[in-house]
């Protein structure tokens, strides 16, 4: 079995859907940060069968919880201090999310209007449906389409 050591300061994202951690790494902008990241893929999980885990050595305040919640609010966020888990953060679906996902509707005004933010609004909390604020197109593809 593969062994990845503890982190001292930072956070651990647990219960990530297997295979999604690399995309999440980019979604959270971790590739642009100067911090140590351990990515564990396809780890065995009693609850999920297989899962991914991200261990990140950086301040929890740098983590955009809204992005994380929209991508998958079942992810567990563990805050680590002095090598110990000191807090588990609960993810709540944000009412509105700006410039995280791009509207893919070619008829949407966001496709031509310069400088217009891509805003998605939580239209149905139960079904976790986000819709473009302008054209009401449903946000379909999870994780993949991120505004650069």
């Amino acid at each position: 079995m593969l062994n990845v050591g503890k982190i001292e300061e930072g956070f651990v994202l647990d219960h990530i859907e297997a295979g999604k951690s690399l995309t999440l790494y980019y979604n959270l902008g971790l590739d642009k940060r100067d911090c140590t990241v351990a990515m564990i893929m396809n780890a065995k999980s009693g609850k999920m069968g297989k899962k991914d885990i991200l261990k990140v050595e950086c301040d929890i305040d740098d983590l955009d919880m809204d992005i994380l919640a929209v991508v998958d609010h079942n992810i567990t966020v563990n805050v680590v201090k002095d090598g110990e888990i000191v807090e588990k953060k609960e993810l709540v679906l944000p009412k509105e999310i700006t410039n995280v996902f791009k509207c893919k509707n070619p008829r949407c005004i966001t496709s031509i209007e310069q400088g217009l933010p891509h805003v998605f609004v939580l239209a149905d909390e139960k079904k976790e449906i986000y819709r473009c604020k302008y054209c009401e197109e449903k946000y379909k593809q999870r994780v993949k389409t991120v505004v650069q």
């Binding site: 008829r107 005004i109 966001t110 496709s111 209007e113 400088g115 473009c132 604020k133 302008y134 197109e137």
Partner: protein
């Protein structure tokens, strides 16, 4: 300052006040003839639309106001690449209210967010066309005397027809409505709409034959099968004449049933029906002017004693 982006922007009570005002305008047009003296409406139409634009212009002129604008993106600054945000900022300096039609969905909303004057969505792509829905509601309310407690048949292109989707959303707020969706299999009402009806406990049925359901309808809303919605000309040709309302079919309808249509009509309503007292589609166009007049007054907060 208020704008109109969707028919649901107004509460049911606000709509009642709007329709009361429209009916008063219908009865006393002279009373409102100078309500907008000295005021200007900009009609910014980035795509051609004869009826809607003329209806807005007639509404403003009937109120004593004047109109300026463009009716084609090629004759506007959009052809030079100007953004909607910049255009509306400039238009705000020239006019007191703006009606905007744009092929891009959400464009009027962007305009409203930057505007210093009320913006009315006069149609944004396949998304919303709120003043058509207000027209439909006012026509039903004026001619039937109520918005609720009836069976309405919606016939034709229920898949792509934005007027139909918008009307269903608006009618869902009233009690006692039973929907009958009449369409060929290929143009069925989208699932997300029937799911919404189910969630709200509203009854509906989906049928293919118009003839069979005619006797039970209080209202029949006909729609045109639009060529521009099809990728394949063959499919369009096959479906465009799927439903034709004839006097033979009208014989099966109730004496007080009303036939509505957002217009333009192509073949779906035979011209022989035009003189039938139940044909309400031209009256509907007239109500379109009244409701736009009421809307202009409401958004400009003008009260006529």
């Amino acid at each position: 300052m208020r704008h109109l982006m969707s028919p649901l922007d107004f509460s049911v009570e606000e709509l009642d006040r709007l329709f009361d005002l429209a009916n008063d305008i219908e009865k006393n047009p002279k009373k409102y003839a100078h309500a907008c003296d000295g005021l200007k409406m900009a009609t910014c139409f980035y795509e051609p639309s004869t009826r809607t634009r003329l209806s807005f212009e007639a509404a403003m002129l009937n109120l004593g106001g004047s109109v300026l604008g463009f009716s084609d993106a090629n004759s506007s600054s959009a052809a030079k690449g100007e953004s909607v945000s910049d255009t509306i900022r400039v238009i705000s300096c020239y006019a007191d209210i703006c009606a905007m039609r744009h092929p891009k969905e959400g464009a009027p909303m962007v305009a409203a967010s930057k505007s210093r004057i009320p913006v009315i969505n006069a149609g944004d792509g396949g998304h919303q066309h709120p003043t058509q829905t207000l027209t439909d509601l006012l026509t039903i309310r004026s001619l039937k005397g109520r918005l609720g407690d009836f069976t309405i048949g919606l016939c034709g292109d229920l898949k792509f027809g934005r007027t139909v989707h918008s009307l269903i959303n608006a009618l869902m707020r009233y009690e006692g409505i039973h929907f009958v969706f009449i369409s060929p299999e290929e143009l069925r009402i989208p699932d997300y709409i029937t799911e919404k009806l189910k969630d709200a406990g509203i009854t509906y049925e989906e049928v293919i034959s118009l003839e069979d359901v005619m006797p039970k309808l209080d209202l029949l809303y006909m729609t045109r099968v639009q060529r521009e919605r099809f990728f394949n000309e063959e499919d369009y040709v096959r479906l465009k004449d799927f439903y034709i309302l004839t006097s033979e079919k009208m014989e099966k309808a109730k004496d007080d049933m009303l036939v509505l249509h957002p217009l333009p009509r192509v073949n779906e309503i035979s011209v022989e029906i035009d003189d039938d007292p139940r044909a309400a589609y031209f009256k509907q166009a007239q109500y379109g002017v009244y409701v736009r007049m009421a809307l202009i007054l409401t958004l400009l907060d003008i009260k006529v004693a």
